[in-house]
Amino acid sequence: MKHTSSPQLRHQDDGGNRASRNAEILLIDPQHPDLAYIQRELDRDRRRERLLIPVAVVAVLVVGVLVLIRQLFFV
C-alpha cells in the first residue's frame, strides 16, 4: 500500500530547498507548531549559540587564575 501525506503536510516537489515545500503547513493543534513558531525557535537557538563566547572566556579566566596563583606564590 502506498501512503500519502495528510493535506496539511502535502507539498509541491519544487526541487529546491526543502523548506519551501512546507509552505502549506497550518497550525491545527499543539502538536502542529506553525512555521513562524519554528522559525522563531530557530532564531532564538541561533542567538543562544553566541553564549559560547562568554563560556569560553570564563573557562580561560579560570585557567588564568590558576596561572596567576602559580606565578605569585609558587615560582
Partner: protein
C-alpha cells in the same frame, strides 16, 4: 673527531623526548578541539536550517525491552510533531519477555502510527534488527526521513523538530542529537558518564561541527534523509560492532553533511556498574578498531568531498584511539629522561603536565557551563574527573613547592634526595598504573568490598583512566583475535525527563 658517546647520548635523549611527546599529542588535540567550540557561535548550521517537518519513520530495535518500550512509545507519540507525519516501527528481535505484548497494546492504542515487526530469529545484533525495520519502511515512499533510536531513550518533546530543521538543507544527510545521561537513580558512575557525555557531545561535537566532520552519529538518535539512507545502500552495515560510526563515515564520504544539534536532547539510561560499562565500551572500542582499519585510505588525505581526511580530524580520531598507548610510551620516555638527565626530565615533565592541567581545567570549565544542571548535580565528578591521584601529579607539576616542600613539611617530613627521586619516579610512571587501578576496580566490583572499594578506586584513578583501560583491553582482545560479538547493555527503565 666525532664524539660517538655524545652523539649516542643526544640520539637517545631525542628518542626519549619523542616518546614523551606522544603523550602531549592527545592533550594538545583535546585543547585544539575545545578551543574550536566558541567558533560554533558563528560557524554553525543554523543559517542553512529552516522550518521543515518531513514524514518521519522511527525505527526502534527491541530485544527484551518490556520494562521500557511502552514508555518510550508513549513519549514518541507525545512529541511536538505532527502525528500524521510520524510512524513508529518497533522491531521485536525475538524477545522472550513481554515486549511483544507491550508493543501490540501500543499498536492498538495508536492505530496507523505504531507498527509491530517481529523477527523470529533474533540475537544477531542491533544492525540486523534495524535492517529488518528499514526494509519494511522502504517498501513504500511514505518515509521522508528515518530516525534510528534505542528502545530505552526518551526524547524531549521539541527534540525531533529541532533535528528535522537541519534537513531543510539538501546537503545534509544526517543529524544527531545530544544523548544526555538521564537515570533517575544516579550513582557515582552514571554521574561520571553524564560528565563524559557533556564533554563528548555538546562540547566535542560542536567542535566537530566547526571542523566540518563528525566522528559518530549517536546510536540512540540519528536522523537520516531518505536520499541519504538509499545512497549508503538502504541498510545499516552488519559487518562491524561500530555500525553507527560506519553510517556516519559513509554519509560524509558521499559528500553529505552530518550535523550535530546540541539543543535536541534525548535522555538515556547508562550503566551503573563498571562491569556493564566495560562490556559496552569494549564493544565500542573494538568497533573503532575495525573502523580505523576499514577507512585506512582516508586518514590524513584531504578530499574535496568530505573533511574526514583533514589533519585536525585525523589527530582527534587517533588521539582517542591510541591514548592508552600514548600514556605508556610517554611514561617510558619520562622515566628514561629522568635516568639520563634528571633536570631535563623535570623540565619536560612540567611542560607536559602543566599543559595537561591547563587543558583539563579549560575543558571541564567549558563542559560544566554547557550543561549546568547536570554539572551541578555531579559537581564532585566534575572536580575529580581526572582522578585524585592524577590531580596530585598535575598539582606537582603546577605547584612543585606545594607537594615537594610545603605538604611534607606539614607532617614534619623533609624529603631527601633519594626520597625525592623515588617520589618523582612514582609520579612519572603513575599514568600507566592508573589503568591497572581501573582494571582492579572492575575486578573487585562483585566482591563484598566492591560497593565501597570500586568507587574509591575510580575517584582515585579517574574516569578517563577507566576508559583508557577499556581501550587497552580492546587492543589485547584484537591481538588475540577474540570473538567480537554483539553484547546488549541491560536497560531497566530508569530514565526520567
Amino acid at each position: 673527531m666525532i664524539d660517538w658517546g655524545a652523539v649516542g647520548y643526544n640520539v637517545l635523549q631525542d628518542f626519549l623526548l619523542l616518546l614523551v611527546a606522544t603523550g602531549a599529542i592527545p592533550v594538545l588535540s583535546g585543547l585544539m578541539a575545545f578551543l574550536a567550540i566558541p567558533f560554533h557561535a558563528f560557524k554553525n548550521h543554523y543559517g542553512k536550517a529552516a522550518p521543515y517537518l518531513p514524514r518521519v519513520a522511527i525505527v526502534v530495535p527491541a530485544w527484551n525491552e518490556g520494562a521500557v518500550i511502552g514508555e518510550s512509545i508513549d513519549r514518541l507519540m507525545a512529541l511536538e510533531y505532527p502525528p500524521e507525519s510520524l510512524r513508529v516501527y518497533v522491531v521485536d528481535d525475538a524477545s522472550t519477555d513481554n515486549t511483544p505484548d507491550v508493543i501490540e497494546a501500543k499498536e492498538s492504542a495508536y492505530p496507523g502510527q505504531v507498527f509491530h515487526l517481529r523477527r523470529e530469529r533474533g540475537g544477531e545484533g542491533k544492525a540486523y534488527t534495524l535492517n529488518h525495520g528499514i526494509r519494511v519502511i522502504l517498501e513504500d515512499d511514505w518515509m521522508e526521513a528515518l530516525l534510528i533510536m534505542d528502545a530505552d531513550v526518551v526524547y524531549l518533546p521539541e527534540s525531533l523538530r529541532k533535528m528535522t530543521r537541519h534537513l531543510a538543507d539538501p546537503n545534509v544527510g544526517a543529524v544527531s542529537a545530544y544523548i544526555r545521561e538521564g537515570s533517575a537513580d544516579k550513582n557515582y558512575l552514571t554521574r561520571f558518564i553524564g560528565i563524559e557525555y557533556i564533554l563528548s557531545q555538546p562540547a566535542a561535537r560542536r567542535a566537530q561541527n566547526v571542523l566540518g566532520a563528525q566522528a559518530c552519529l549517536a546510536g540512540g538518535a540519528q536522523l537520516h534523509t531518505r536520499e541519504n539512507l538509499l545512497a549508503i545502500g538502504g541498510q545499516i552495515d552488519t559487518s562491524s560492532l561500530a555500525e553507527d560510526t560506519i553510517t556516519t563515515f559513509e554519509t560524509q564520504l558521499r559528500g553529505r553533511e552530518v550535523v550535530f544539534e546540541p539543543l535536541a536532547i534525548v535522555h538515556a539510561e547508562e550503566p551503573g556498574l563498571v562491569s556493564a560499562l566495560w562490556k559496552q565500551r569494549l564493544r565500542w572500542a573494538r568497533g573503532n578498531v575495525s573502523v580505523t582499519a576499514r577507512y585506512r585510505k582516508i586518514w590524513f588525505r584531504p578530499s574535496k568531498m568530505h573533511n574526514l581526511g583533514t589533519f585536525s580530524f585525523g589527530i582527534v580520531w587517533f588521539s582517542l584511539w591510541l591514548l592508552p598507548l600514548a600514556m605508556v610510551t610517554s611514561s617510558i620516555g619520562l622515566l628514561g629522561l629522568l635516568l639520563l638527565n634528571s633536570q631535563f626530565a623535570l623540565d619536560v615533565f612540567r611542560v607536559l603536565w602543566i599543559t595537561a592541567a591547563v587543558t583539563y581545567t579549560f575543558t571541564l570549565a567549558v563542559a560544566a557551563q554547557l550543561d549546568r544542571k547536570l554539572s551541578l548535580n555531579a559537581w564532585r565528578e566534575v572536580f575529580f574527573f581526572p582522578g585524585i591521584l592524577n590531580m596530585f601529579v598535575m598539582i606537582t607539576a603546577f605547584f612543585p613547592k606545594l607537594t615537594e616542600v610545603d605538604l611534607p613539611g606539614l607532617f614534619g617530613i623533609h624529603l631527601t634526595g633519594a626520597g625525592l627521586f623515588i617520589a618523582t619516579v612514582c609520579i612519572y610512571v603513575w599514568i600507566p598504573f592508573s589503568m591497572v587501578g581501573a582494571w582492579l576496580a572492575r575486578q573487585v566490583e562483585r566482591t563484598w568490598i566492591g560497593p565501597f572499594l570500586t568507587p574509591v578506586l575510580i575517584y582515585l584513578v579517574g574516569y578517563g583512566s577507566l576508559l583508557c583501560a577499556i581501550t587497552f583491553d580492546s587492543y589485547i582482545k584484537e591481538l588475540r583475535h577474540a570473538e567480537a560479538k554483539w553484547d546488549k547493555t541491560e536497560k531497566t527503565g530508569r530514565v526520567v525527563v
